[in-house]
Symmetry: C2
Subunit: 310 residues, 2 copies
Amino acid sequence: MTARNPFQPSMLAGLLLACSLSAATAVAASKPDPAKLPSSAEVLAATQAADWRDVNPEDAVLMELPGGPVVIELARAFAPVHAANIVRLAQAGYFDGLAIIRVQDNYVTQWGDAEEDEAKAKAKPKDLAKTPVEFDRPLKGLDFRPLPERDAWAPQVGFVAGWPVGVDPKKGRAWLSHCNSMVGAARGNEPDSSDGSGLYTVIGHAPRALDLNITSVGRVLQGLERLSALPRGSGNLGFYEKAEQRTPISRVRVLADLPEAERLRLQVLRTDTTSWKKWLDSRRYRGGWFVRSPDRVELCSALPPVRTAP
Amino acid sequence: MTARNPFQPSMLAGLLLACSLSAATAVAASKPDPAKLPSSAEVLAATQAADWRDVNPEDAVLMELPGGPVVIELARAFAPVHAANIVRLAQAGYFDGLAIIRVQDNYVTQWGDAEEDEAKAKAKPKDLAKTPVEFDRPLKGLDFRPLPERDAWAPQVGFVAGWPVGVDPKKGRAWLSHCNSMVGAARGNEPDSSDGSGLYTVIGHAPRALDLNITSVGRVLQGLERLSALPRGSGNLGFYEKAEQRTPISRVRVLADLPEAERLRLQVLRTDTTSWKKWLDSRRYRGGWFVRSPDRVELCSALPPVRTAP
């Protein structure tokens, strides 16, 4: 590992291997010495089964693309009607044969029915709910774990069961934040015009000006690179101009509806545990490769790790 | 343009076409009515030649990839020795035949000599300068234009001639921020181990924990999608595991060294003008598609527009 091999060993050392193995329990209230803290990898290696939340297979869908699967967890606590609609659409096979229709660099990848305004648009199930605006919800009833750090966008930010959340304490409202990998329901000019049949995910810097303006419905937990590494569209806003440029969706299924062997059993690190606090500290206080510890985390730079259930 | 065509017309309306054409000069000190402000597109359409800064062809390199050109402007004011080295390396043909060696999703794309630690590494010009750490510099001497908004990472942020900058007013220091599209010089564990021969650009959410820890040297002004849409590497940290997965770099040239006809004449919106203030306001105060104006901008969500010189 020499200086002549730029960035590779450095990042490996700085992000994965830098810190001492001996200080796994020392998390100080004041600014700790990064060299005495466990690294992120060490925190994760020391987690117990109870530190992880199982993704409920009834709350997640698997989207099959030519490159492989994409798994999206639905945020029932924040967008219950949209989530139910997406489940209903998947169960009806609505997404099967549709496509990725838009990839705008440093912004979003979007999928759905390219012919939605046309006569040949795909029929939706007749029992789909009329979808209300689900831009935010009451803070009350949520196990909100605030970050102490200030945020550029929201009065307060933190996590609810692993979801990145903005909060207005005065108004008692909470909403999902548009971090990279979050999924939203495309809408037209009418605020309540989304129904879950057109979806997008963030593939660049978090466009948090969208927060509170469109309904976030979930997060890509696996396979995000199958959406973020697609060719950018050359049309307005990154829409593909030719049908053959679109990536086809072979099918979307609710995980619970798949044979047991085909379900991808994913887990998200819980954000109400001591392990979570240690993991955040491992991201705040950096030693090794780092010359200057940032001494802070930022909401969208600290999304909880995801793993396949052991 | 109906609600049944999700997101497309909406974004078009909200981001490009929404606001009145009649209020182009009204920029209020207090919170203005978004409907009375010009849109971003309208602000840009109304700019004069003096609102744009020509990219100096001696301060920019063109990297040719199979997909087309990538243009990187070098930040001489922040990393003069690295910038001079990159120019020297380009003039010596050092990058020609090297490759994109790493693409890590939501993080960075990196290029250089994959064999740097090996005997077959490419020779560098003998007159390359020994490169110091250029993580930050004195604020004094810079035409810093602060944003009034708070930032999650730096005591103060703003722009210097179009560059996104963090500032510590107490220490009188300024540094480039790791926004999407910014370019840095890969280094090993020693802080001064970068020399400009290995470079990376940010392709995801701004990893600003890297600020003040590695030398930023420039920004991709054109062709970023040729770096951000590449297949992600399956090795540690997104390094490609097989040589054939790498994207070859046919050549890197200083724009000034190219025949006049081959130079791409780019311009960056100046950040010391009234047009810039109007453009920021068009991003802060959103009407049309937006239900709730964000009433703020964030450093890495407000990088100055780039255009080809008319």
